[in-house]
């Protein structure tokens, strides 16, 4: 393994002192104090037509500045999905629409000088609805008589097989080999269907943004977002104004997990600021964040596996039904990961078929959440593989060793990419030993009657969207030779500012402290698609490496001038982090003198900008093992410990990588056990607060033990791949497996609540 100076080292996040000591660095802390307060009047009906909005009484309330309805907003549809243009998500939104599509859909915007006035106005507006029957069951949505998006101006920019008149957002099928023949000739075939619900990202900082017009008449939006450049485009589309009129700034943000990869609410304060010329602020309440943002897609996934008696998984059929909810954000893309980021794990298969259907319903519109569809697919496929092991009377460990992807294999189910870096076999081997998994007895009855058991799963994700995502980096040399690192990727707490500074410090052979970082400003930061799709360390990291190479060349050019060596070949100049020295004559200039010298009689800009994209999306891998305690009389499941071994390539910052893993695993434990989404018969979400939507607390999880089995990814910066999303993928199937090992019951519908397990056991025993 290479010896590194700045990477593969623990470095505290550059903002850690500010964050832990509570400095005012977030959107609401830094907003102007005279902002108008903007709120949304929301529909109590899941499906309705707004016939009339009577706002005259509300407008008279002192402090109310404006009330906007569907009549007052631009008429061209757009998507709020933060994706590279042209977005695969259909253009199916208006800022305000007369057709209401879910409980909480926006009816009117109210802006006023103070919150009390706005709240009063919201109560004073009278809305006349023509209430319609909602379509709530996504398994009945396709070609239903109820059409969620009846409009004629529904507009897909990319053909993903959608048809709004059929409630169809996207549909496709991908095949390799003759799946029918393979399944027909398999010794053992299992055919199972799994259900996962919407899950809330639940970042601690809810959605918020303020907008104002600057001295040049441009609209500046300061937003807690993962995708500032996409915010600029979405706002320009929504408001029908030129992109040159919009500037977006990202300060420190309080978590994202994908939720802020959607431009959930920025268009509202932006529209009000544009309309009134006054600064406008909007913050989503926790209730709004849980009821009208964009959670993980609900899925129903059918998996058919065909295997030989000796445990060769010969055929994999995976069919995903995807609930888009009321709007199509991230729907055509998340669904593809349910197959593309699961099937390749079992690369020994002779044939596979991956098909999907994504439908509209009158429920909350889903979107991007860490894992981005792979999470659902892997719950289904990994549980099916565990069920297959059972059917084959074979160890699930042995079954995986027989079939799993290995380094240097070509992956037909992954766009024929080659797995250039993969230690998944070692990950599984290690996790088996960490967890104490025993093929013979994965369950133990304790003296108190409880059952302790272990369950296993493996997982993969990608690193950036191949051939789409773009990351750019600018590095400048300043006085005394310190560097400023400008990125367009957004640190949402994950520490990418620090991680990228570590990579830059490695390249520039300096201390991480010599690299200064900042937030993102679309006017000054180089373009980046944004922090999503597990792209930052991998893709922006690559851009850092490339930029550093260019910058060193630039520094050598200037050094040659300053040293009077203009005729010298730059390759004869050596950069060692401190100085540039001529190998021919030993003349040398320090980086410090170069930085200062650049500001005097100089024609060479000491800065470099480079972009990168990736033709591949190298998968990181993990193996996970859940150890649980089941009370068989109540169904209560306690998560005793979770062991995880991860291949994310070279680990750039061990502390930050470990916390990514621990955090993702605990989110997934919530998804597996407690985070429930329940609707009333009229389509109102009941789990609309932290009282009802139960995030894991620190009492709910036993130790999470994380280890790394680093591979070396030749396409990544210093061998690195991604980690952030991968880690949410293995706990659900591992826990479901442990539950089976304890009770003999497969719970195929998440979350596995105590009651669900109890009822399954009770009815099995009847």
């Amino acid at each position: 393994m290479m010896e590194f100076k700045s990477i593969n080292k623990v470095v505290a996040k550059k903002d850690s002192q500010a964050l832990v000591t509570g400095q005012p660095v977030y959107t609401e802390d830094i907003m102007p104090k005279d902002c108008l307060i903007v709120k949304v009047l929301r529909s109590p009906h899941a499906r309705a037509i707004v016939k009339k909005v009577n706002k005259s009484a509300a407008e008279k309330i002192p402090g109310i500045v404006c009330i906007v309805t569907a009549d007052d907003v631009p008429k061209s549809r757009f998507t709020i999905a933060g994706q590279t243009y042209p977005e695969p998500s259909p253009y199916d939104r208006l800022i305000l629409d007369k057709q209401i599509r879910f409980v909480g859909d926006a009816v009117a915007l109210v802006a006023g000088t103070n919150q009390a006035a706005v709240d009063k106005a919201l109560r004073a507006i009278r809305v006349e609805y023509e209430v319609q029957e909602p379509l709530l069951d996504f398994t009945k949505a396709l070609d239903n008589d109820i059409v969620v998006h009846p409009e004629d101006d529904w507009k897909p920019l990319v053909d993903v097989g959608g048809d709004n008149k059929r409630n169809l957002v996207a549909k496709a099928c991908d095949r390799h080999g003759d799946i029918d023949a393979v399944l027909a000739s398999s010794d053992v075939v299992i055919d199972r269907t799994y259900h996962t619900r919407q899950n809330q990202q639940a970042a601690m900082e809810t959605f918020r943004a303020y907008a104002y017009k600057d001295a040049f008449g441009r609209l500046t939006i300061v937003s807690s977002t993962q995708v500032p450049f996409h915010v600029r485009r979405v706002v320009s589309h929504a408001l029908e104004i030129s992109k040159s009129k919009v500037r977006v700034i990202k300060p420190r943000i309080g978590g994202g997990f994908g939720s802020k990869q959607t431009v959930v609410m920025e268009v509202y304060p932006a529209f009000i600021a544009w309309l009134t010329g006054k600064p406008a602020y909007m913050v989503y309440s926790r209730e709004e964040s849980l009821t009208v943002s964009t959670p993980r897609h609900e899925s129903q996934i059918r998996v058919v596996l065909g295997a030989s008696k000796d445990g060769h998984i010969r055929g994999i059929l995976l069919d995903s039904l995807w609930n888009a909810g009321a709007y199509g954000e991230h729907t055509p893309t998340t669904v593809t990961l349910s197959g593309h980021k699961s099937i390749p794990l079992y690369n020994a298969a002779e044939a596979f078929q991956f098909s999907y259907t994504c439908v509209y319903t009158n429920t909350i519109a889903a979107g991007a959440y860490r894992g981005y569809g792979a999470t659902q697919g892997l719950f289904a496929l990994e549980t099916a593989v565990n069920e297959l092991a059972e059917a084959l009377h074979m160890s699930p460990v042995e079954l995986r060793f027989k079939n799993m992807v290995r380094q240097n294999q070509v992956l037909p189910a992954y766009f024929n990419e080659t797995a250039l870096s993969c230690t998944l076999d070692k990950c599984l081997e290690r996790v088996v030993s960490m967890s104490g998994w025993d093929d013979a007895s994965p369950r133990k009855v304790l003296p108190n009657g409880h059952i302790q058991s272990v369950g296993l799963a493996i997982a993969m994700q990608g690193s950036s969207v191949s051939n789409v995502d773009v990351a750019s980096v600018t590095i400048k040399v300043n006085d005394d030779g310190f560097y400023t690192l400008h990125i367009g990727a957004t640190d949402m707490g994950t520490g990418c500012d620090t991680i990228l500074a570590q990579i830059a410090a490695e390249c520039l052979m300096c201390s991480v402290d010599d690299i200064v970082t900042d937030g993102v400003d679309t006017d000054t930061s180089p373009y980046d698609s944004g922090s999503y799709a597990s792209s930052t360390t991998y893709l922006t990291g690559n851009a850092v490496v490339k930029t550093c190479e260019s910058l060193i060349r630039r520094m050598k050019e200037l050094a040659a001038v300053k040293l009077g060596l203009s005729d010298t070949d730059l390759d004869d100049l050596e950069f060692d982090g401190k100085a540039i020295t001529c190998l021919q004559n030993g003349k040398s200039i320090t980086v410090r003198d170069l930085g200062n010298g650049a500001m005097f009689m100089n024609g060479i800009a000491l800065e470099a900008t480079e972009s990168s994209y990736s033709p591949t999306s190298p998968p990181p891998y993990m193996a996970g093992a859940a150890t649980i305690d089941v009370d068989p009389e109540t169904g209560h499941i306690a998560l005793l410990k979770y062991d995880a071994v991860i291949d994310c390539g070279t680990v750039i910052n061990p502390s930050l990588a470990r916390v990514q893993a621990e955090g993702g695993i605990v989110q997934a434990i919530g998804m597996a056990l407690t985070e429930n989404v329940q609707y009333t018969p009229t389509g109102r979400l009941q789990n609309n607060s932290f009282m009802q939507y139960r995030l894991p607390t620190r009492l709910d999880v036993g130790p999470v033990n994380v280890e790394f089995e680093p591979s070396y990814e030749p396409n990544g910066p210093f061998g690195a791949k991604s980690i952030g999303e991968l880690v949410i993928d293995s706990p659900s199937p591992a826990i479901a497996h442990a539950v089976y090992n304890a009770t003999g019951v497969w719970v195929r519908d998440l979350p596995i609540t105590a009651e669900k397990l109890y009822q399954a056991m009770k009815h099995k025993n009847l």
Binding site: G22, Q201, G493, L695
Partner: protein, 155 residues
Amino acid sequence: MMITYWLNGKKSSADIEPGMMLYDFLRSQGCYSVKCGCETTNCGLCTVWVNDVPVLSCAVLAVRIDGCQVTTLEGLQEDAKEFAYYMGLQGADQCGFCNPGFVMNVLAMVRRFDSPTEDDIKEFLSGNLCRCTGYMSHMRAIKEYFKAKGKEVRS
């Protein structure tokens, strides 16, 4: 209503509406460390001390601090910086949004316990939600911090 109180050791008076919550009052006084993560007293982000007792400022009527000592993280900067060192090394700060409320409760805990068990710590902090970290790094940072304070955490 007029109230007199000590905010981070400094005596002040204010004329406030009886319905005002301490959370809103503290932010209006420039204590931006105090954050809100829910509206249902579930998250712990708004934790401050009233007479050295950690409470949820979103559930305290500001009129009730009349005559009381109120402490926010702005008033505990030296302690916070010391703890931040250990949090930083673990990467446990993450997005930071839940940090101030969490740190307020940790600092109350370190004053209260000399040799708590890990279970004592989890129970004391169970009202502080965090979505980023999964909590493990918090425990590692707390153990190091207790050690630096000449205290110990028992397993």
